[in-house]
């Protein structure tokens, strides 16, 4: 197991262009599940590929287990990676796919006591040990029955497990996963996600997981690194990035529907849709608004109410509320809504960075 660290890591693909990854500094914790989250083009995959050694950084350093690995090839970094497409070897059986890293890295060593076996005896012994190892990895993922199949004879979920087994079999120091769930259908994704979490808990290897899906990031990550345009916007636990977003990008990227943002003099004030409720339901210090309901969506467990603020200085601003029930609301009518004062987030209007909470004149 090891800690991954990047120092001022930068990648510029073409000279003169904007960097795909800019000045990224981060350190994983031992055995942590770290998630890189960002929209497409945010540089999260490039960052992962640099850590894997598939991409050479333009500037900065990568450290794995305290050692600078910039000039080491992927094979020397002792990492394992699961690709978005799984990248199984199509011409090899599942068994040979899983055994490939063992043979390539010559991981299987016959103990010294086996010297008396002779050349062929040692070879047999090596194959036996290899088989044990492959079966261990396969049983960990419940694919012991598929070892003789070719990848094309497997379903998407089975392929993903083979890819995981191939990654785990060499007992790597770091696990890199590049959107491994995005090729699965929605139903399978939820169960695969849960399985992956359980899998990580059982092996406890430091893992870096790339995704554009905030649900995956929130559900799986010990910490989440939010990236946009090659810059790290925030690093924190799922709770921190959701409740204490560092800037307006993080605030709107996380959460569905996103945080409501309203401009107020030199500030931008944000509040989550689930905190925006009919005034009667809000207790304590609160900020009140008048909301004209424009649209109501029923989503089964919740209602999404979209409306426009009326009156006061927020006139005409579109906002969204998420409520347990909105049956009593009628389209086109205006209602009293409120947000608890402690749930307001404040951002600087020019830098869009978060600033300390303050009392504001709302009317």
């Amino acid at each position: 197991m090891a800690v991954v660290e990047t120092r001022n890591l930068t990648k510029v693909f073409k000279e003169g262009e904007l960097g795909a990854v800019n000045d990224v500094n981060l350190v994983t914790n031992e055995g942590e599940f770290l998630v890189f989250l960002g929209p497409s083009g945010s540089g999260k995959t490039t960052l992962l590929r640099m850590i894997a050694g598939l991409e050479h950084p333009t500037a900065g350093e990568i450290l794995i287990g305290g050692r600078v690995v910039n000039d080491l090839s992927p094979r020397e970094r002792r990492i394992a990676m699961v690709f978005q497409s799984y990248a199984l070897y199509p011409h090899l059986t599942v068994y040979r796919n899983i055994a490939f890293p063992l043979r390539a890295q010559k991981t299987i060593k016959v103990p010294a006591s086996g010297k008396s076996l002779g050349f062929f005896g040692r070879m047999q012994e090596r194959r036996r040990l290899e088989k044990e190892k492959v079966q261990w990895a396969a049983s960990l993922l419940g694919i012991g029955g598929l070892l003789h199949r070719k990848p094309r004879e497997l379903s998407g979920g089975e392929r993903q497990r083979v890819a995981l087994a191939r990654a785990i079999v060499r007992e790597p120091s770091v696990f890199l996963l590049d959107e491994p769930l995005s090729n699965l259908d929605a139903k399978l994704r939820a169960s695969a996600r849960e399985e992956l979490e359980r899998f990580h808990r059982s092996i406890g290897t430091t893992s870096i997981y790339v995704t554009h899906d905030q649900v995956e990031a929130m559900a799986m990550g010990d910490r989440v690194v939010v990236l946009n345009q090659g810059y790290v916007r925030q690093i924190g636990t799922p709770k921190e990035v959701y409740d204490q977003p560092a800037d307006t990008f993080v605030a709107t990227f996380l959460g569905s529907p996103p945080m409501n943002l309203v401009e107020h003099d030199e500030l931008i004030v944000g509040f989550r849709p689930e905190q925006f409720r009919p005034a009667a339901q809000v207790e304590g210090d609160k900020v009140s608004f008048r909301l004209r309901v424009e649209n109501v969506e029923y989503l089964g467990s919740e209602w999404i109410v979209a409306g426009i603020l009326t009156g006061g200085r927020m006139e005409g601003k579109k906002t969204i509320a998420r409520m347990a029930s909105a049956q009593s609301l009628e389209l086109g009518q205006t209602y009293d809504f409120a947000v608890p004062e402690r749930e307001l987030k404040f951002f600087d209007r020019s830098s869009e960075k978060r600033v300390a909470a303050r009392a504001l004149q709302w009317q």
Partner: protein, 332 residues
Amino acid sequence: MAMKPAGDAETQAKKAPPLSSSLDKPGQLRPRWKKVKSAGAATSPLLGAAMFSPAALYILLLIAVPFFLAIFYAFSDARIGSTELHFIGLENFRSIIHSPSFQKAVTNSIIFTVVAQAIVLVCSNILSIALEKPFRGRGLLRFLILLPWVAPVSLGTIGWKWILDSIYSVITWVLVWLGFANKLDPPYWLGQEGLAMASVILVHCWRLIPFATVILLAGRTAIPKEIPEAASIDGAGFWRTQFQINLPIMTPILSVAVLFGSIFTFTDIAVVYILTNGGPYDSTQTLPMLAYTQGIQGSDLAAGAAVSVCLIPVLVIIAYFMLRMAHRAEVV
């Protein structure tokens, strides 16, 4: 007896059109070919036949007739300048199989094909690896490498004839300059048995490497980028990635390159004809060349036909094995 059901079918066919066209537009009888348009498919046998006939004629006149004529001649005593023709069974085959020049030609044809293909495979693989990754001037280099393939075989070979000439050879000149050859006793590239053979193989390779390179390049670029990347993360070095990952995945396309290359080499006559004419002492004689010398130059049409008929089973076997290989190597 056989005619009657056919007649029945015809009357049925004649009855059918008014029925369907009356559905189209009642009371109006349309010419038959118009129905094709409304049906959206070639239902008229006449139109189909008309469209098909150029291709059929081409195959019939230019491929089938000469092919069967050659087989027919092979079993006859046809000679140039003689109008008489007798069927003599396997006599031609019996005599050519026992002739030393035929045996030599078979051996040579196989040697040329196998050695040239082996060299071509190695070189085109190296080239395709080198040309895969982008670098400055790659487009120009790819274009240059393709040139020997697009140039006419005969012109290219005539160029090689000068390069390998006994007096004006540039190769000899360079070797003498480097001190590897004696100016007064230079190597006769096309006049010494071993050297002549090597020269023919060299020219075949020169001609086929571009073709194989282009095919392999296509095969290589078709491999998803993540697969060799996964291999490198799994700990495979360059050779393991090539031999255990890339080449096995490319097997189908490799076999296409080998299949075409083998057939091109095995059936080629231009290179041998221009460079050595089969000599010295039959040392570069090949089957197509022998068919030509015996059949046309030697006026023994029947013997020439028999030699060329002997090419068929070999080509069928090559094609069969290659197609089977291509079929077996399935890729996701």
